[in-house]
Amino acid sequence: MTLLSLAGVKKSYGDKMVLDDVDLAVAPHDVVCLIGASGSGKSTLLRCVNLLEQVDDGVIEFDGQDITDPRVDPRTVRRRMGMVFQAYNLFPHMSVLRNITLAPQIVHTVGQDESRTRAMELLDRFGLADKADARPDQLSGGQQQRVALARALAARPELLLLDEVTSALDPELVGEMLAVLRDLAAEGTTMLLATHEMGFARDVATSVCFLHEGRILEQGPPSQVLVEPREERTRQFLRRVL
């Protein structure tokens, strides 16, 4: 059974081919890691899944529905996915709590009490309960990123998209973010993530995809792709990052 599948997905900006015939399948409870150099198409792939970018060709299916059909309202799709960005993108003019409760309240029409309870639950879990009333700019990068994660999880998404969520963090803050993600994976959260954290990919991923110039050159379990890659390109990439 698949939750998300991409078949022959293409995307280019001008002359530059960013995604070139990408096939990918994510089953429920999978943790799929996209690895590859900057500019290899990892972020674009995530943005296409979320319909923030329009694909040039190919089909993306989510829970059996072709979401690249122009008749599909992107909102109905996004409502069922959570996304966390590299630069957190919290709303700077709202409190931490409001950042988390806004979407459940206005998009999912969850009541105020219920959405607050859920937000406090998540903040508590991520060790940020005392920051509920703080403004995002009063928080460290690592704290902001955990708030962004809480915001994405508030509406209980069926799929979590994570775009290099540790890349903007100081090295000592990366660990705490990864620990939170490990927990989520252990609980069975379905995740598709672009990452440079090879240790995390090795320990947590059910499958690893190596992207190079918009193509998935190699995919398989981490024990294969990261340990004994078939492709020379993958070997070169891993030598550089490990």
Partner: protein
């Protein structure tokens, strides 16, 4: 708290440095204004200028009618400002909509800003005050005061719409992306994410436009609204003395300076916010 001898010495030096700076500033100011004052008062025409522009008797004599006219300027400003804000924001929001059904409104909004930003405010005052009554429409105000006020609203509304639009565009695209990713509609993104940040960004330029509007209420005098400048001109033409112009100028300065200072203050504060965390 005990302080080391080095720090004590540094503090003593800083104190004497700032004393020297204050003295120099005072001296320079006295010399500068002394020289300017001397140049002006020693000029050949000064006695005549003094009599026609700085005559205390005429100032006192004209003051009641000038201040009464100035009341109209203040009322115009106070009525026009909120209307302009609403109009400008509405036009900017309409330009940012995407719904197909709203296309005609977007066309109107673009035409409105293009046309009315391009026409000099004084010309608009003439067109409204002289043209609208000639149409003989029922239900449209014929009072020159209201027509001039509408002209100013229309003219400044176009400017303010562009200020708001710039503010909307200044909100980082990543904010819109993350709102979309949460499933917000366009309207929800605008209302909850973009507009609150846009408004904060445009407060200083908006206040700047309002300083300008305060002065431009004097344009109503051109079509015979008895505001401060018209009252001053009335007096000047009758008594051959221009002192009321200076009185009017002083009143306008007194009105605009507080708003200008507020603009500076808010500008500095938002800059301070943006620089926080950056080494200064």
């Amino acid at each position: 708290m005990s302080v080391s001898a080095v720090e004590l010495e540094r503090r003593r030096v800083r104190r004497s440095q700032s004393l020297r700076r204050a003295l120099l500033a005072t001296l320079a100011t006295v010399v500068f204004f002394g020289v300017v004052g001397l140049l002006v008062t020693s000029s050949q025409g000064w006695p005549v200028v003094k009599r026609t522009f700085f005559d205390p008797h005429s100032a006192v004599d004209a003051f009641p009618s000038v201040i009464k006219g100035f009341g109209l300027n203040v009322v115009m400003f106070l009525v026009a400002e909120p209307v302009i804000l609403v109009l400008g924001a509405a036009v900017a929001i309409v330009r940012g909509t995407r719904s197909a059904a709203l296309f005609p409104l977007r066309v109107v909004a673009v035409l409105y800003t293009d046309v009315f930003r391009g026409i000099p405010s004084i010309l608009l005052v003439f067109l409204f005050a002289l043209g609208v009554p000639a149409l003989r429409l029922t239900g449209v105000p014929t009072s020159l005061f209201w027509l001039a006020l509408i002209a100013l609203v229309v003219s400044y509304g176009a400017y303010v719409a562009e200020v708001f639009r710039a503010g909307i565009e200044s909100v980082h695209p990543s904010q819109v992306a993350s709102a979309r990713a949460l499933g917000f509609s366009n309207a929800q993104t605008m209302r909850h994410v973009v507009l609150p940040q846009a408004v904060r960004n445009v407060v200083p330029p908006l206040l700047n436009d309002f300083v300008s509007l305060q002065k431009d209420t004097a344009l109503a005098g051109a079509v015979g609204v008895f505001e401060a400048l018209f009252a001053a001109r009335d007096y000047a033409n009758f008594h051959f003395n221009f002192t009321p112009y200076v009185v009017t100028a002083v009143l306008f300065v007194a009105l605009t300076v507080p708003l200008a200072r507020l603009t500076d203050y808010l500008g500095r504060r938002s800059l301070g916010g943006r620089l926080s965390g950056v080494a200064r």
